[in-house]
Symmetry: C2
Subunit: 487 residues, 2 copies
């Protein structure tokens, strides 16, 4: 039986080459049972005419489908659905008729309803996106990343790509972190003291699971990264928020009961405060006195384009008290999901066992690609380029903010990618955000960063990591106009 | 100042092209502070002579390093470390002098010491590897995977590659799963009922976290996949093992107290039993009666090369009681870490929120690559090719086992990739494994699959997913010899 040419349609929204689209259309017809074994395909001339593509494109698609056994060609009579083609299912698919489960009872634990706000997924469609932590396509080193990914897909790296690492990491990546990344933060660590994670957030999550219980007290900075607050809340520990000042977390304000202190000394998140060396030492001394552990989230240390960064807290750690969290996702791109934990071996061992249970290991291909990108120096070039651009943007931003007399609450002395802002009294920045969206401006309201039951409504964050210098002045002008209207 | 050519050495174990190695050597020299700004590099002729490479290779490396701002060239006088080169750290790296933390006290929870055995990482160096769940490089469709990965790295897919999905998945992949994968199992699901996970193990982990508490009872098959047992143990629920028979999990043996039933109807892991349709219906009825949920791990359903698979339990589910776990890692390669969960929306919503907290989302590049590999039909070709090869290997294996009179405990009627074996009474298969390793044979002792305090020592698993047909007879012969010696 011949299949009528009229039954073939290319999906108008499909991507990829025409040849790939044709292959896909036919393969899916076979897999869904619409095209059956032994049925004859239209001639390439006929199908080409029907679809409005060149005949050679159809011929190439048929040849490919033959190679993968979807089709077979019979002498002079054309192409047929192969007898070895994959079988469609022999039963109809069904959807549950009704959901008769009482899910409010069936769920053992609830994880929805956390502090982390939902950001607009289409931030790039806003003209003035002062959003934080997203990739700026104009800065990313696409060519070299692609090159490294390709290399990591090569025959030589087959093992690294496909292997089930059980609970191990890519040795090349671990070596680079130990020999090149950590020394730049003043840290020496052995491979057994390093664990690769699915981004910094995953590193914080693993740490919270290993160190905290319902009977332990965790200190979080107030305000702090909302996802960390979700992690700590889910761990069910006692959560003690400690307000930061312009130098970050004040050691003298730590509660005696603290077991684990989560801190961001390089750039406090979200206020951008950098903890001075004196306070770092005082914090270490206070933690020792209280026998507390410290978890140092050293995110964004690379973005120190104004002044060289201070050594990490971990580098002052003489007794194995500090757990260090680093990330590559931030600077390469957030979709990468690659970070690491550095800590004493007994801790890393438990975090590794937990990781193995949760998801075994971060995909080998990603680890290997990153290790090439790092070791060939592309990462450092990227960081440098980003630093130069961010420095320029920041200058434009500061001028614009000063020009409109907008209140800066924290700007960070080393650089970073955002400025922490305070609106005039009485302005609710949640409302400000809603109004600005209609004007094409995206900001980040500050409330979700606070733990307090009645968080201050006047703070907000403006990032310059995803907006070009040229657009900053107009974006800030719109912000200023809206603020003036709301006062 | 000129840098002496003698200080340059290529790492004899380095991989990659010579040009890349030279770039790496110089970039790392700069990053570590060994080569300083303004210092002059040896001429390309001199360095080429010293390293024993061609001059053009050095010139190309220098040009690349100049492009990425590590080096600058000065007219006629050669290459110098650029003034814009990245800064080396300004402080020395230090390692904690002593670990003064009492980690037995500091750890909130322990995750080490689970049931999952450590397999030899170098399994491919054994001549007769009857190992389970590893990639056979001779079967994997490297070229097409590479092609799809490349396409997913293209400019068009930049968003999919780099975006922070927050808590969402790649819409292309979800659509493929909903429209093509699930219907083949008799399942219809909407996108909100599907969650992409880091492999099937991660899907099981998320499910256990959402559904179980210390007050709930989970049924696990006895024997069962050891990693599942680790997951259930860590969730601290009551764990009720129920012995399987030749048809899998017997519904009448389920304890009244069961809240969640974990089962593998397609191929019971590790016995390979396939649950007949009658029992599937009885299991559904029993679960309804007890108001229990069912978690169906449908791993390896694609490897049904002897007979078409039965519809999934989930396809019989009229009241939203079944949570379905699928995986691509198994058939593509385990290092991929890609699976999915299908279940009622209220459940998927909580699993998604938990996933967002634990690691946000599986990397976008991997999701997009898999969606191309699937939609272009490569996945089905691969499955078919694997099925044909596995059928051949299985035949050779069964003949060899029969020839030596070795006892088969479970072989699975639909296919699969392994046979569950029983050694004669008195033979400890842990000891058998140790002895066989010296003979180049790898088997999987059965004890870790059992929950019982005194698990039977006579079972073992032989997989044919990573050993060629040609080597199977000799491997089985060595096994038979060793068994005879141990009796």
């Amino acid at each position: 039986m011949s299949i009528p040419v009229e039954t073939f349609f290319l999906n108008p929204e499909a991507q990829g080459t025409l040849q790939a689209q044709i292959q896909q259309m036919i393969a899916q017809g076979i897999l869904s049972g619409r095209l059956r074994k032994g049925e004859k395909l239209p001639s390439s001339r006929k199908l080409a005419g029907h679809l409005g593509v060149s005949r050679i494109t159809v011929t190439l698609a048929y040849t490919e489908l033959q190679a993968s056994d979807y089709l077979e060609s019979r002498d002079r009579s054309g192409y047929f659905v192969s007898n070895n083609a994959p079988e469609p299912p022999q039963f109809a698919a069904r959807h549950p008729r009704q959901d008769s489960i009482d899910w409010s009872r069936a769920l053992g634990r609830k994880f929805t309803g956390g502090a982390t706000p939902v950001k607009p997924r289409d931030w790039w469609s806003f003209r003035y996106p002062f959003v934080y932590g997203q990739t700026d396509p104009s800065l990313f080193d696409h060519a070299n990343w692609r090159h490294c990914a390709l290399r990591a897909l090569g025959q030589k790296d087959f093992q690294a790509l496909t292997t089930d690492y059980y609970d191990n990491d890519d040795p090349q990546l671990i070596e680079f972190i130990a020999r090149h990344t950590l020394p730049r933060r003043g840290i020496l660590a052995r491979p057994e003291e390093i664990l690769v994670t699915m981004g910094a957030q995953n590193a914080l999550w693993l740490t919270a699971q290993v160190l905290l219980t319902q009977r332990r007290t965790a200190v979080a900075e107030e305000p702090c990264y909302h996802a960390l607050r979700d992690i700590l809340t889910q761990s069910r520990c006692h959560l003690a928020p400690v307000a930061v000042d312009r130098d970050g977390l004040p050691p003298e304000a730590l509660p005696e009961s603290a077991d684990v202190i989560f801190t961001t000394p390089s750039h406090q998140s979200p206020t951008n405060a950098t903890m001075p060396m004196g306070r770092r030492k005082a914090l270490m001394a206070r933690a020792r006195e209280m026998e507390a552990l410290i978890v140092e989230d050293d995110y964004e240390f690379e973005m120190s384009f104004l002044r060289a960064p201070l050594p990490a807290l971990k580098s002052l750690d003489t007794d194995g008290r500090v757990i260090y969290v680093g990330s590559f996702s931030k600077s390469i791109f957030p979709g990468l999901r690659l970070g690491y934990l550095v800590g004493p071996e007994p801790f890393i061992r438990e975090a590794r066992a937990l990781r193995a249970s949760v998801y075994r290991h971060p995909p080998g291909h990603i680890q290997r690609t990153a290790s090439y990108f790092l070791s060939l120096g592309h990462y450092d070039s990227l960081i440098r380029r980003m630093g130069q651009v961010f420095a320029r943007r920041r200058k434009v931003m500061e001028e614009a903010l000063a020009g409109h007399g907008l209140g800066v609450a924290g700007r960070g002395v080393f650089g970073g990618s955002s400025i922490w802002m305070q609106a005039p009294d009485g302005v609710d920045t949640g409302e400000l955000d809603r109004r600005l969206r209609e004007k094409g401006v995206l900001i980040e309201p500050g409330r979700p960063f606070f733990h307090a039951a009645e968080p201050p409504g006047s703070y907000y964050r403006l990032a310059y990591s995803s907006i070009s210098s040229e657009r900053i002045p107009e974006g800030i002008a719109r912000l200023a106009t809206e603020l003036a209207l709301m006062r």
